[in-house]
C-alpha cells in the first residue's frame, strides 16, 4: 500500500511540474515617459524652490514619472521625476515644476508620440541578461521613422533605469502588432545629450 502511495505522489509531482510554467521576467518599472520642454528646468530635492538643485534639465530631455502624489506649492504643480544626470553618470530622483498654476505654462509634458531615430532591436525583456532578439519584419530591427506606442492612449512606459522603452505596436504606413504582444527597445536615455536619444519625443 505504501508503494502505491509513493507512486501516486510521484505522479502528482510530475504532473504539477509539467503544469507549472516559467515565471515571466519582472520588469524594473521606472514610470511613464515625460519630456522636458524648456532649458534650465531644475530638479530639486523637494517640492519647492527652497530645496537644493539635484540637476538642471534641458529641452527635449526625457524623464520618468514614477507616480508619486503631486503637490501644488508656491504657484507650481510639483511632481517627482527620475532622470539621467550626465555629470555623474547616474540616475537621480527629484521634484520639478510640471506647470505654473497661475499661467498654465507647462514645463514637462507627457509624451504622445515617440519616433525611432535609428534601427532598433526589439527585445523580449528589459534586462541585458534576459535579452532575446525578436524579429520585427522589415528586417531584424525596427527601422527609423517608425511611430512607437503602447496602444494605451500612447502613455509610454520606461523600464530598467531609463534604458528600455516598452512598446506593443508600431506604425510606419503599416500597423504592426509586435511579436508576443509587447517588447522593449533601447532608448539611450543614458546620454550626455538628449539629442542623442535613439528615439525622438513629441
Amino acid at each position: 500500500m505504501m508503494k502505491v502511495h509513493k507512486v501516486l505522489i510521484g505522479f502528482l509531482l510530475i504532473t504539477f511540474s509539467l503544469f507549472s510554467q516559467t515565471l515571466p521576467v519582472l520588469a524594473a518599472y521606472d514610470g511613464f515617459l515625460a519630456r522636458v520642454s524648456v532649458d534650465g528646468l531644475a530638479m530639486r530635492t523637494g517640492p519647492g524652490t527652497g530645496y537644493s538643485t539635484v540637476m538642471t534639465m534641458s529641452n527635449a530631455e526625457a524623464v520618468a514619472y514614477p507616480g508619486e502624489e503631486p503637490k501644488d506649492l508656491e504657484g507650481y504643480h510639483w511632481m517627482k521625476f527620475k532622470g539621467w544626470k550626465s555629470t555623474t553618470n547616474s540616475i537621480v530622483s527629484g521634484w520639478a515644476a510640471q506647470y505654473n498654476l497661475n499661467t498654465g505654462t507647462q514645463y514637462i509634458y507627457s509624451t504622445v508620440l515617440a519616433i525611432s531615430k535609428d534601427y532598433l532591436t526589439l527585445y523580449s525583456a528589459d534586462s541585458p541578461s534576459n535579452e532575446q532578439q525578436y524579429n520585427t519584419g522589415l528586417s531584424n530591427d525596427i527601422p527609423p521613422g517608425v511611430y512607437l506606442y503602447t496602444g494605451n492612449g500612447n502613455i509610454h512606459e520606461l523600464y530598467s533605469d531609463l534604458y528600455y522603452f516598452k512598446i506593443s505596436r508600431y506604425y510606419n504606413g503599416s500597423f504592426h502588432d509586435v511579436y508576443g504582444g509587447s517588447g522593449y527597445v533601447h532608448t539611450n536615455f543614458r546620454s550626455s545629450s538628449p539629442y542623442n536619444y535613439y528615439i525622438s519625443l513629441n
Binding site: 524579429n135 504606413g173 500597423f175
Partner: protein
C-alpha cells in the same frame, strides 16, 4: 486491491487529461489549390469569399501582400506577413464592419504557428486613426481611411521557407483559411541596430 485499481485508473485518467491539455491543435490539411472555407458566416450576413491571398466580404477585402523572413539563427527565423484591408466602397470611406483578427499561419512545412497576441483588427484600426493621420501628414502622403495596412510578426522554425495559409478569425469567433500562393518572400538584411 480495490484501492489499487482505483489508483491505477486514476493515474491513467490524469495521464489522458494531461495529454489532451498539452497537445496543441494540429494544422488543418486543406489542399491550398482547393481552399476549404471553414466557416463562411460572420454574423452580419456577410459571407467571406476566399481565393488565393484574398478574402472578400461585402464592405471590404483582405489581401496578403508580402512576407519577410529574417534568418536569425540556424534554428530560428523571424517572419512578418503584410496584409492590406481595402474598403470596397472607396479608399476615402471608413470601415464600418471591420472585425476579427489574424490568429495563425501555416508554414510550408505544415506546422501551425498560432499568434494569440494579435489584437482585433477593428481595435487596431480605430485606435490608430489619429496616429495614421499624423503619419500621413508628416510624410506628405494622402490619408486614406478606406485602406488599412497591417503586419503580423512571429517566430518560425529555422527550416521554414514561407507560408501556405493564413487563418483569420471573424468577430464571432469563426475561422476562415486563406491560402497563400505566389506571394513575394523577402529575406531581411541585417542592420547595425541599437
Amino acid at each position: 486491491m480495490n484501492f489499487r485499481k482505483i489508483v491505477i485508473v486514476g493515474i491513467i485518467g490524469i495521464g489522458i487529461i494531461s495529454l489532451g491539455i498539452f497537445s496543441k491543435p494540429i494544422a488543418a490539411t486543406t489542399d491550398i489549390n482547393q481552399p476549404e472555407l471553414i466557416e463562411g458566416k460572420n454574423g452580419t450576413n456577410q459571407p467571406e469569399q476566399v481565393k488565393a491571398n484574398i478574402m472578400t466580404r461585402n464592405e471590404w477585402r483582405l489581401s496578403v501582400e508580402k512576407i519577410v523572413i529574417d534568418p536569425k539563427s540556424d534554428s530560428l527565423k523571424g517572419a512578418a506577413v503584410y496584409f492590406s484591408f481595402i474598403n470596397n466602397n472607396g479608399l476615402d470611406k471608413e470601415f464600418t464592419t471591420l472585425n476579427g483578427k489574424i490568429i495563425a499561419l501555416v508554414g510550408i512545412s505544415g506546422k501551425l504557428y498560432e499568434m494569440s497576441w494579435n489584437n482585433p483588427i477593428d481595435e487596431n484600426y480605430n485606435g490608430s486613426k489619429s496616429l495614421r493621420e499624423q503619419y500621413a501628414k508628416n510624410n506628405g502622403t494622402k490619408f486614406e481611411s478606406g485602406k488599412f495596412n497591417y503586419t503580423v510578426h512571429l517566430m518560425v522554425d529555422g527550416a521554414e521557407e514561407g507560408f501556405t495559409k493564413v487563418i483569420y478569425q471573424n468577430g464571432n469567433g469563426n475561422k476562415v483559411e486563406i491560402p497563400i500562393q505566389g506571394v513575394m518572400v523577402e529575406i531581411a538584411q541585417p542592420h547595425n541596430a541599437k
